[in-house]
Structure formats: C-alpha cells, structure tokens
C-alpha cells in the first residue's frame, strides 16, 4: 500500500467556493489534513459538508480556490486523484439487486483487478468486516447498518491512501455506529487518511484528530475536538420536586458551574452551562444540592452537543 509520510498533507485546499444558482454551498474553505489522520467536518444540514466532499472527490468543479488530494490537483489531475481515493457518499451507494460479494467484486473489476484477484479481495474484506455470512445474500435484504458497512468496505477494495466518508453513521443504531467507528479506526491504523463528515459532535470526538465546524459554507472553528468541547463547558440540568426550591437549586448551580442558571418553572428545571475549563463532577454537585436542602429528582450532566458548540461559537462571534 502506498502511503504518504506523516508530515505531509493528504488533503489541502484554499479558498474553495461553490454556488448552486443563488445558494452559496461553500464559501472559501481552507483545509489542511495531515496524512494518516482522521479529519472531521462537522455541521448541521446544509452546512456544505457534502459539497466539500464532492469537490474533493472530483465530482463537482469548484467555482473558486483549489484543492489537492494525495498531492494531485483536483481540477487538473482528476484521474490521478480518483486513483488515490475511496468515496462513501451520504447515501449507501451499494447495488441492491445483487449480492454483497458481487458488489465488492464489481468494484474490484472497475479498478481493473483481475477476476480472481477481485474475488479474493471481496472475500477478504467480507470476512474482515463481519459480512462473510451475508456475502451471498441480496443487499436488498441487508439491514441499514450492514448496507453502510458494505458501502464503506466498497471503498477499501483498492486500499486507497485517502478516504472520504460522508456521514458514515447517520441513521444507524448505536451498535452499528460502533462497528463503523471500529472500521474507520482500523483504516487509519493501516495508514490511510480519512476525511469524514458528521452531524454528531460525539462522533467527531471519538474518531477525529482534528475537527472543523462548518456553518453556511464557512469554517467557524477548527482544532482538536477536546479543545472545542473544553471551550464550551458542560451543560448541567437539575429537576426538583417543588418549584419553590428552584432559586436554591439555581444558587447551587451558579456556584458549581460558574455559569448563569436558567430556571423553567413549568418543567421545574434549572439549567446552566459551566464556564470553559471548569470541571463539573456529579458527586460534588449532588453533595452541594443536598447541603442546600434541595430535593433533586433528576440531575444530569451533558457534554456539549453540536447545538451548544454552535450557540457558543456564534455568541462568541457576535461578541467579537
């Protein structure tokens, strides 16, 4: 397998822009993905994630800017880029009317592997990704998770150095999601570079070495996922039995989180976002509530969601 050495960029782009009619899908995106790492593009619906992937995979031509993948320019050397990438699009692009094994064999044949080699490779991949038993069944009968896995496996047939995965786990149950995560980790262990998109911060957190948050076609933040989360803090929620205790609970939350608690009398709930860098631990919180005489029915600590990241980042931008 050919690989790019560690200090080189597997994907780089500058000023990448794309509009469809009046809609600006991507508005000057810069990317620098070191070889052998997992890079996560995080963003809500319509942020431009798929557009970015399609530009990098040579499916769409950019209006502005340039991009290089595996060292080749996507506009001038699309053929060489295509020889270096694997793409799993947003919707599992497997052929339903044929078997899983046939799907993989066809991909091998399209990559000009010999008939025997294509079949051998299909067997090997089915085995490795737990699809061997289902290999000879029609894909129509596969579960969503199996389909997704097959789709992912289909872009590994030629062991490409760079992989693009567009929302590889959207719509999957937690177990299937875990299986996809394992598969992605296995890939990077083999030295591949993975650029994936996701709507879930947790997923980016689990998989990606670096995350870029996209909104309206622009990068609003990038860096290691831990740093993004640390910059946002933890969301703490307390539900009480008696609405009269809300002020007391709010007092405790203010002290523990350093944030500004918001009370909701109807739901008898008070909620606060901890200050960045401040650690909130459940036992300490419960003890503090107890000491204040608050009868808490439910206490929850939530790591920041994508929504929190957005709220925090957009608030920060407005403040700046």
């Amino acid at each position: 397998m050919s690989q790019l050495s560690g200090d080189q960029l597997a994907v780089s782009a500058q000023g990448l822009g794309k509009s469809f009619g009046g809609t600006t899908a991507l508005d000057g995106l810069d990317l620098a993905v070191p070889a052998g790492t997992v890079y996560g593009l995080l963003g809500p619906n319509g942020a431009g994630k798929t557009t970015a992937i399609r530009l990098l995979a040579t499916l769409t031509a950019p209006d502005t800017g340039w991009a290089r993948v595996a060292g080749f320019d996507v506009a001038r050397e699309p053929e060489r880029v295509r020889r270096s990438i694997g793409l799993a699009g947003q919707h599992a692009a497997v052929d339903e009317g044929i078997t899983g094994r046939e799907n993989l064999t066809l991909v091998g044949r399209f990559h000009h592997l010999g008939a025997r080699e294509a079949r051998r490779r299909a067997d090997e991949l089915l085995e490795r990704f737990g699809l061997a038993a289902a290999g000879d069944r029609l894909v129509r009968g596969y579960s969503g998770g199996m389909r997704r896995r097959l789709d992912l496996v289909a872009c590994l047939v030629t062991r490409p150095p760079v992989l693009f995965l567009d929302e590889p786990t959207t719509g999957l149950d937690p177990r299937s999601r875990g299986e996809i995560w394992d598969a992605v980790r296995e890939l990077t262990a083999g030295g591949s570079t993975v650029l994936l998109t996701t709507q879930y911060l947790e997923e980016a957190d689990r998989l990606a070495d670096t995350v870029m948050v996209l909104d309206h076609g622009r990068a609003i933040a990038d860096g290691p996922p831990g740093r993004l989360k640390a910059a946002i803090g933890t969301r703490v929620q307390v539900v009480v039995d008696d609405a009269g205790q809300l002020p007391a609970a709010a007092g405790v939350l203010a002290a523990v989180t350093g944030g500004e608690p918001v009370s909701d009398r109807d739901r008898r709930q008070v909620e606060a976002l901890s200050l960045p860098g401040r650690e909130v631990l459940l036992p300490a919180l419960v003890r503090a509530l107890d000491a204040a005489g608050v009868a808490a029915r439910d206490v929850a600590l939530r790591t920041p969601s994508l929504d929190d990241v957005f709220l925090a980042l957009t608030a920060e931008r407005q403040a700046a």
């Binding site: 050919s2 960029l9 995979a57 595996a70 699009g89 919707h91």
Partner: protein, 286 residues
C-alpha cells in the same frame, strides 16, 4: 476561535496507489470498464428473472390483443394476414419499450449515489455507459427470441430467406442499441427515479404514432407525417420488407426506403444521444 489555518507544509505526492500497478491503456480500459458495466447489469437480471418475464409479457399481450381481438376486424391495405403484418411491429416495440427500464435504471443509479461512486473511480465514463448499453442490448435479444417463437406459433413467417431475416434482426438489435442511448440520456436528464418513471409514460405516444399496429395511410394528414417520419416506423417497415411480410403501401420516403432510412435514423440518433449521454454523465451535479 480563529478560522482555519493552512499549513505551509508541501502537499505530498502519492506514489502509485495500491491494487493495480499500472493503469491500462485508454482503449483497453474502455473495453474493461464496458465489460464490468455489462456484468453489473446482467447480474441484476440474473437475480431478478421476473424483469425479463415482464419485458416479454407486454409484447405477448399485444399479440393476443391486437392479433386476435382487434386483428379480427383489421384488413391490411394491399392484402396479407394481419398477424404477419403485426409481428415485425411488435419486434420493434420491444426495442422502444426498452427505453423505460434503461431510463429508470440510470436515474435510480443517480438517486442512490451509485453514479457518484462510479464517477469517483478512475474509469472510462464512455466505457461504463457503453457497457450498460450492451447489456440492455443482450436483454433485448433475450426478449426478442421468445417473441419470435410466439410469432411463429401464430403464423408469422420469414419468407425472404436467411440473409434477409438476419439483416432484419440486425436492424432490430441496432435500434435497441440506439434506444438505450436515448434512454440513458433521458434518465440522466430526469435526475431522479420518480421523475424518470413519470417521463417514461411520455414514450408511449411516440411508440403508438407509428405503423406498428396500423398502416399510416389511414391517419389524418399531420399525424401521418409524424408517423411516416417516426424512426420506429422505418424500422418496422424495414423488417416487414426483409421478412417478406405484408407491407401496406406508403408514399413517404422513409417508408419507401426503410432499410436506408433505419440506418440513417440510427446513425443520427446515436450521433446525438451518445455524446449527450456521456457529457451529462460526466458533468452530473457540477
């Protein structure tokens, strides 16, 4: 937090990717990709033989419906048996009806991302489309063979010798090939399976405004001009001539020189739709 920063590290060049060591030459690659693409379509049919049966059912129903129900009241101008007049028309009908599955299949591939995946691979786009056109052609032959059997059973005959009959079949296969490219383009233009399914209904009138079921002579003037110049009418007339079946007299040039007209129409349609299809395929979603 700051926007993204671009590292100044030089982009790395990948050496030859894993898998195949050297890219095969252009022509060989086109052939390889076409072969794989053909296999892909044929695998579909192998797993769903019902599709073939459905493609055959339509013309067989037409044989019964037109050959016996309406046919009992039909007189072919210039004389001859109506069922013998009808069969070449139904053979051509198979080619025309082939547009629908092609269109819907192509649009489904676009819908489901299969087209994107193929386009992200280093393969010949013309080869991929050529391959599925060839597969459709084989399917067309597979439907034609039993239909010929049905024709023989209801009294249709090839009366002008083997060479002429083979020429007629060659024209039918050519026409099917042409229709596949038309279908591919329409499917890509439709862009979604649902749209393609709805557009497919529109292929019905052009298939009917022909000499397939009735001679064009009895149609009102403007409709007759359309039917006379319909490429499908030329194919049907050519087959009637080559099989030695009854041909209703017609004065329009394409129907007086149906073989030449069929070849010209096929060349023209191929020259228009094949490049359009490849272009549409390559630039899809740009």
């Amino acid at each position: 937090m700051s926007g993204s920063t671009v590292s100044t590290t030089r982009p790395a060049r990948a050496t030859a990717p894993g898998g195949p060591a050297a890219a095969p030459g252009r022509l060989r690659r086109t052939a390889l990709d076409a072969a794989t693409s053909t296999t892909r379509v044929l695998l579909y049919y192998r797993h769903s033989p019902g599709l073939l049966a459905a493609s055959l059912a339509v013309p067989v129903v037409m044989v019964v419906l037109f050959g016996y129900v309406f046919g009992s009241a039909m007189r072919v101008p210039g004389g001859g048996d109506y069922r013998e007049f009808l069969m070449p028309g139904l053979f051509a009908m198979v080619a025309i009806n082939g547009i629908t599955p092609t269109m819907v299949g192509v649009a489904r591939d676009v819908d489901r991302g299969a087209t994107d995946r193929l386009r992200s691979m280093p393969l010949s786009r013309f080869g991929v489309l050529l391959g599925s056109a060839l597969a459709d052609l084989l399917i067309g032959v597979a439907v034609l063979v039993p239909l010929v059997g049905v024709g023989l059973a209801v009294g249709w005959r090839m009366r002008d010798g083997v060479a002429d009959a083979l020429a007629a079949f060659a024209l039918l296969v050519l026409f099917r090939f042409v229709m596949t490219w038309v279908g591919t383009f329409l499917g890509l233009a439709a862009g979604s399976e649902q749209m393609a399914g709805q557009l497919a209904v529109l292929t019905f009138p052009p298939a009917m405004v022909t000499n397939v079921f009735v001679p064009t002579g009895g149609m009102p003037g403007w409709l007759r001009v359309i039917a006379d110049w319909n490429p499908a009418s030329a194919v049907v007339a050519a087959c009637r001539q080559l099989f030695g079946n009854p041909t209703a007299p017609a004065s329009a040039w394409p129907l007086q020189h149906p073989v030449v007209a069929t070849l010209l129409w096929s060349g023209l349609l191929l020259a228009v739709f094949a490049p359009l299809a490849v272009r549409k395929y390559s630039t899809h979603g740009r």
